[in-house]
Symmetry: C2
Subunit: 265 residues, 2 copies
Amino acid sequence: MSKPLILISNDDGIQAAGLRALCEGMLPLGEIVVMAPEVERSAAGHAITLSDPLRVNEIDLGLDNIVAYSCSGTPADCVKLAILAVLPRPPSLVVSGINHGSNTGINVIYSGTISAAAEGTILGIPSAAFSVDCWESPDFGPAKAIAYQVAGKILERGLPKGTLLNVNIPDLPTDQLLSGNPDRRRYALTVHGKADWQDQFDRRVDPHNRVYYWLTGRRREREEPPNTDEETLKAGKISITPLHYDLTDYRYLSDLAKWELFQSE
Amino acid sequence: MSKPLILISNDDGIQAAGLRALCEGMLPLGEIVVMAPEVERSAAGHAITLSDPLRVNEIDLGLDNIVAYSCSGTPADCVKLAILAVLPRPPSLVVSGINHGSNTGINVIYSGTISAAAEGTILGIPSAAFSVDCWESPDFGPAKAIAYQVAGKILERGLPKGTLLNVNIPDLPTDQLLSGNPDRRRYALTVHGKADWQDQFDRRVDPHNRVYYWLTGRRREREEPPNTDEETLKAGKISITPLHYDLTDYRYLSDLAKWELFQSE
């Protein structure tokens, strides 16, 4: 029987250390193909490329038994192109990451890491995104062990059509992350919170006297319910959030019905 | 009393006919400032620009009483930059469009038009996206009349924090779209559906013998419940969907609790 085919992508680019860690984590689970952006594509949102052609190059990552390609497009392009044009058969699983930095709250909307997994979901493949909560130089080893276990469970149990898992891992040693004693369980099933950044633009003038702006900002300090993705991470626990892409605000539909639109025409 | 400040953006770019129509539609409602991408940014998703500076240029659209800027970034960049660095005060409303082509179902995830409105929502401003269901040369006149009425209602009644309106308008004459007779009402409050495209990649070889891929595809024919965005449009009615950005799949949280993750460690 052939091993399950696992597609790996990310938004930090084909050379990222987190991608390599995810490859190593997935290797015991199946046959691995990587398609990742040739350059960093953080905050790519769910962009896809319509008006340019996409290029693909085979890359030697120096990892045995792994075929890897770089792609000129976004993370969503990588996954779409791999599944529809490059892979020999549909994958059993799409995994994205391991992102260097968490993807919680509002960041989820901007995240290329999430968009790669979301594209897998849109194409009907069980998918998950992995991020480690460290903006400096994380040790990806613990996150790799977590990704292995979560991916193994997805292969075993599947996911509902349209739902992906967003997994955020604290920057802690493996033995602090995992424990057989349920009372010391270090993970929580969470909801997508509202954690965000206090954005600002740095206004500068270039040597030719023209104005330009750099986006900058810092994480806003705010309290959220403890069952949110960000608060769970802050408490030192792995956060696992099931995400889907039905954006309907169902609660507001009934209020909207009272608007009496277009009555005066 | 000063008139409400209305920020207008889009993803078809600063020169698009639909943007001009939206300006004309909003003009009776307030003071208008436009910040739109300098080039077309369709399918930009919710991308923002982190690693390049943003440039802004004032543009004369030839419309009285409207200040307009082009920006080198994505639709989300346009709205973020306008609100945080360019506008003299926070706007009362952000509107995006009028998009040339519908934004229903899965397209909502990729749409730059939606992402401009979503960025307004993320920054706490009531926001709406307008699209006309025509991929050729639409007459934006009817959609302009609809946008005027919907925007007027939003200014009057507000929107809950975190919720935007996604308005899709059939390519029909105004008198067919609107009617004072409630029995002939031509709009519906809808849910975000699953309408999608059958994507494929066109594999080609360039004159230097290198392979490249173009994304192509066509709308998939599928039946959905009549209360979805796409089915409503197909029935010749204006579709108004309240969207929000809590992506949690709440229904799946309880199933996920049965997974017994990390038990073997």
